[in-house]
Symmetry: C2
């Protein structure tokens, strides 16, 4: 794209000024329309060192009220960030509905640096491109407007600008060593940038190459592109998003009605002795995954009163509290609801070597959000694939993903509800909502069956824990967790 790119002629001064004026005031108006339409806008500035990314952002945001935007400068990933999937720090920054986030360089910069300095090539490069395209598609599918600008200047222009900055000690810090390397290897970088731009130039989030050799002209190109795209985004808002076919191998799951619950029990004695052995084993494995930096994500879904809490406790009872975290997932807070539904899970991912346990999960999208109408039909239908993609991303990062459905039958639930209701110490565990959900058992059962069928991938299959006898379910969960961790450790050896 860069190689064949042809510069447009810079407009005459008068035209430039009048078009600038028009674009600025249009953007000023649009900020309120964006707010009304609840569109989140992510604007990514990539480009050459000293091409004026920061300055351009500075000019654009003058037209927007500070309540409606945020600027994030993505310098090199910190040690903490490097212990998470590479998309983590970008997903964290995505804007709320009706707001803008401006990123001063981002996932392009990171990927190209890995190509240039760490030799990212072949399969690893392809996988990265896949991740990036999926990430961008997941944003735009969920109503985000993603604008990607590449600020382009030629080698001579870059050289002049750097020399100018370096001449003053107060501006010299703006020219990093990386920038200087880039200037010395301009041609090589051009090649890598060009390939990246081609590989990620998708219809849902195309690239806009900005002639950045003249600052005012650059500002105009950016503003006009923003204004036009915001217009389109508002017009398209009601459009439904195509639902992608599942592309991952699936494991066949039984219907819930086919799951045999009787006979799945353990005596108190068997339970005690197995528990002791398995917890000891898991404790040892926890040390091993810490040392080998393997992240583990354990998710729990299941019927109310199925015994999720007690089951989780038997896992955590074996773990060093410095190496795990339990995330109880309730209904989202306003700032969570205002973002992509996976945001609050992305931001809760464990560091490598750590274990994150989710008590309820992203699957809420295709259960409660589906059945209570908290999202559109198109939203939840699309979500099966989005969640498979999310988990694939985690597995590619190196994570062990273990998904439990804690299962009981309707009679057992009633028994436990009544027991909770009648026991003052346990009353807090039962709410009116639990009773209301119980009335919708059949609808939930249908939704769960569909979920199990569509999201039990080979890399992150569902495990059903028969929990009429909670002891049985606990031992089964421990065994699965141990087995999956051992598998991962073997592969890492």
């Amino acid at each position: 794209m860069l190689k064949n790119w042809v510069k447009e002629a810079v407009p005459e001064k008068e035209e430039l000024e009048s078009r600038l004026e028009a674009a600025r005031s249009r953007l000023y108006e649009q900020q309120m329309q964006i707010k009304e339409h609840k569109i989140p806008v992510l604007v990514l500035f990539e480009g050459w060192g000293s091409s004026g990314k920061g300055g351009a952002i500075g000019k654009v945001i003058r037209n927007i009220d500070p309540r409606f935007f945020k600027v994030a400068t993505m310098s090199a990933p910190t040690a903490e960030e490097l212990r998470r999937p590479f998309l983590y720090r970008y997903f964290k920054e995505i804007p709320e509905q009706g707001k803008f986030t401006f990123l001063d360089s981002g996932w392009m910069d990171e990927a190209c640096k890995e190509c240039l300095h760490e030799g990212m090539e072949g399969e690893k490069y392809d996988r990265r491109m896949d991740s990036i395209r999926r990430f961008e598609r997941q944003l735009t599918d969920n109503g985000y407007l993603l604008l990607k600008f590449f600020m382009h200047i030629d080698k001579d222009e870059q050289g002049e600008r750097m020399a100018h900055l370096l001449a003053d000690k107060d501006t010299a810090w703006r020219v990093s060593e990386g920038d200087q390397w880039q200037h010395e290897h301009y041609k090589k970088c051009l090649k890598v940038f060009d390939r990246y731009l081609i590989d990620t130039n998708m219809p849902n989030a195309p690239w806009y190459i900005i002639d950045a050799s003249n600052r005012k002209w650059a500002e105009l190109q950016i503003l006009e592109t923003m204004v036009a795209n915001i217009e389109v985004a508002m017009q398209n808002q009601s459009r439904s998003v195509p639902i992608l076919q599942n592309a991952y191998p699936l494991v066949k799951m039984p219907l819930l009605s086919e799951v045999e619950l009787t006979g799945k029990e353990l005596s108190e004695e068997e339970y005690r002795s197995e528990l002791k052995v398995l917890q000891k084993k898991l404790g040892e494995l926890h040390n091993k995954i810490y040392r080998k930096r393997i992240p583990v994500i354990i998710t729990y879904e299941g019927w109310d009163a199925a015994g999720k809490g007690g089951n989780i406790k038997r896992i955590t009872g074996a773990l060093d509290p410095r190496g795990y975290e339990v995330h109880p997932i309730a209904s989202p807070e306003p700032h969570e609801k205002a973002r992509h539904y996976l945001w609050r899970f992305w931001t809760r991912l464990p560091k490598d070597g750590h274990i994150a346990i989710f008590d309820r999960t992203w699957y809420g999208r295709v259960m409660v959000e589906r059945l209570e109408g908290f999202c559109s039909e198109n939203d939840w239908k699309r979500a099966y694939n989005e969640m498979n993609e999310f988990e694939k991303e985690l597995v590619n990062w190196g994570a062990v993903v273990i998904k439990f459905w804690v299962h009981i039958d309707k009679d057992t639930q009633l028994e436990r509800f009544n027991e909770r209701q009648n026991n003052p110490e346990k009353q807090w565990k039962i709410t009116d909502e639990d009773w209301r959900n119980r009335e919708k058992w059949d609808a939930y059962e249908g939704a769960v069956n569909e979920m199990l069928k569509k999201t039990s991938t080979t890399f992150a299959p569902w495990h059903i824990l028969e929990s009429v006898d909670k002891k049985y379910a606990r031992i089964k969960a421990l065994k699965i967790v141990i087995e999956e961790i051992e598998k991962a450790l073997e592969q890492k050896d």
Copy 2:
């Protein structure tokens, strides 16, 4: 404290077990009472390396539902954290009402390491102790239960435990180089720890030294201490907190009614030319503070429609967007309301070398929260001092703190309200709430006068911006910002 500390005799096995059983089930009951009473509980575990802090936390949390607690392991501060005040990373972790946070080492560990390895002594040490005592007092004054445990073992016990851990490669990572150094310098460390414990052993948050040589016994001491303290905290909840007298030198402020508003104006021409010069100057200073790593915090309070937004824009217009952030402060979200009212400001502090602009601030506590009854009388009366302390902490860290009150008279406000109401493009800027607040002008004026009087410290004085002519106010703000930054730069030279 450690030096004179006398070990209690370990109870007989049978007694130990029965007391453990009782304490565990009492804590289990208390978690719900904590929730009902909305008490936030922060439990800090400090102590010797290999004294079993992690293990002890692991045992305590078995009695608590994962929805109600969080464990945070405070390893050495990251590069990002080191660019903020030392309390930043601890303040971030404070629990919500009704929940527990367990900290695996914290501000004691950090302070003692600085004493041992970086020679923190004399004035610097005293200042740190002041900060810590203030921090702890601010928590407990605001309803936090703060429990501080020091896990104590003698040198031989420590040596044995380390040898045991080091013998297995899966546990060897638990013994850090720092731990080994500590073991070799046990006596020296004991001295530093002892002094720290004495210096921070305050009635609102006393130290509990735990004999950690026997794990079960340690668990019992911790549980019984927790249980007893939670009991006391619940009984004391309705008590009012003493209001501390201001200890900082104040700058005398005029009453709002004494502020001359007429004649404070600029011609369009004067404004344009001054603006240009001042913004250029500020842009240059921004580079300088970045290089010298000086953090700058600019806060805006003022009447509705006084022109805060436009004023802020003239500041930011001069700045590189990579080096500043504007924080518009609206009413708190649930997770913010559930914590200390300064939490959402602590977590938004800039990195050193960066500028943070707050559009409305912590002073909401003594204005809207006071007048609308969102906090108790005792709360807002206490807040003047708390906010002075907060700003003192920022200034001690090295920050420039600039506080603006943007001032207009009642007639001017009415004029601007009407103009907004009648201009479709500006209607979003005016809400019913603005009109309601206007009716309370006199009450607000009284509250503002009290605020200006009590919080205009010499290190963070208020500046009144006469804004009937917005141009005048903008130029005045720019001049003050420039002057304050220049002063800070001189001091840093």
